[in-house]
Symmetry: C2
Subunit: 284 residues, 2 copies
Amino acid sequence: METFFSFLEKRVDDCSSLLCVGLDPHPSDLPEPTAAAVLAACLKIIKASASYAAAFKINAAFFEVHGAEGWIVLKEVIAAIQHQSDRLGSMIPVILDAKRGDIASTAEAYAQSAFKSLGAHAITLSPYLGRDSIDPFLAYKEKGVFLLCKTSNPGASDLQDLHVGPATAPAGNGRVDETEYLYEHVARLANQWNTANNIGLVVGATQPGALMRVRSIAPDLWFLVPGVGTQGGDLETALRAGLRKDDKGMLINVSRGIARAADPGKASAQMRDEILNIQYQLKH
Amino acid sequence: METFFSFLEKRVDDCSSLLCVGLDPHPSDLPEPTAAAVLAACLKIIKASASYAAAFKINAAFFEVHGAEGWIVLKEVIAAIQHQSDRLGSMIPVILDAKRGDIASTAEAYAQSAFKSLGAHAITLSPYLGRDSIDPFLAYKEKGVFLLCKTSNPGASDLQDLHVGPATAPAGNGRVDETEYLYEHVARLANQWNTANNIGLVVGATQPGALMRVRSIAPDLWFLVPGVGTQGGDLETALRAGLRKDDKGMLINVSRGIARAADPGKASAQMRDEILNIQYQLKH
């Protein structure tokens, strides 16, 4: 059966790219803080970068902040990506970066919003509410979810780097050195839950050690990797730490590095090639 | 200085109520799954229950699922609550139950959306990304946040009930029995971070033991408490476990119990009175 990740792998092969183009139209990057300016900025990036994009990641916040108009623009942006997919004859997956997470009856509405109303192919989700907050999304068999695992921000350490033990500590031998980090536990859960090839993880590039640990726990999962470039993550170090054995398994998200480039098309092509070069070097 | 929680306490005193009326217009509860039906359902509940409501909690998902129209209706619902506040001469706080959580630059956009574009007075947030994902919301000095701590759903145990130790285990003495649950750690962080009276916690009524533990960690914080009624939490047990020494500190959320009542006004009044009776009994 076709799943989000089988679609994604097809696209990755079609364009020889692990580049995920992030659409983060921050008000301060726009000529004016309006929904129309958001649309114009996104359309420009989409047109220029589509040929090199394994996927697009849309940051919901920068649309939501414009209210109803932002919501209309969000649908238009997704339609524009669809248009590029048709033009290229190769489906470019759309990841809605919304980081939702709520109890089951509410999660159903968020899933319907992302997958049916908007037509996104995957969504980012917080794992804090546990399995039943994820299930309503997994019910859409051809869609995908990326669970937040280890994020690229400084505050990530507040919770994600805590040592965790089992829910019920085994009597007498529950030493902390037998435990793991919370983000590793999330990776382990995601790996267990991924019985239908529809779960990936968000793992930031800013901490390559974490990328390596998560990869060893989840050898086959796809990682959505923010944090290269502006946030300080080094591309080669990240790829070395996180690529799967088949040389895939990572979507390297770049937002500002493309949006702020004088020529977003050229910046996307360069980024795609830079990733390819590193993949080649790592193999040989 | 006026803060969200000082506004809330004023309202609690004005209406002698700890009842939070939840607006969760689930498509299956509506005559038709449209934004117009959402608006009609919410207006009916708001008008009937405003006199007895310490606050209203709006579930963003059930508006978002209707796209741009849902967003327009969300603003109209908040305006309707404002109208009731004006009518009653007592400000009824609006909590946007959105459970957002993202890195700082994105969190700024979510905060602007909730507090400036929509005009909500408080928002629910996931703690998974840590302190810097909360700060952009706290920058709005008169607004409040409720951090997810212990939720009312079964899956809550997947992460929230894990035993956690310090980020760096002290050499040689890091036994699990010296650790605490993840949700307790979140409560402890919230208590530390609450230097400006603008942080509360979401603690479900379904596990009174957890309510008691969180209360002992955070003796002064306000709890937003879902899970009474439909989800199985017992009101008296919850109040006994979670009330502060001043007999306040809990907002008891009721959604379906009011929305599905033949007379939502009467159901709200009864719920307000039931809480009052239990408060009285616990004191005497």
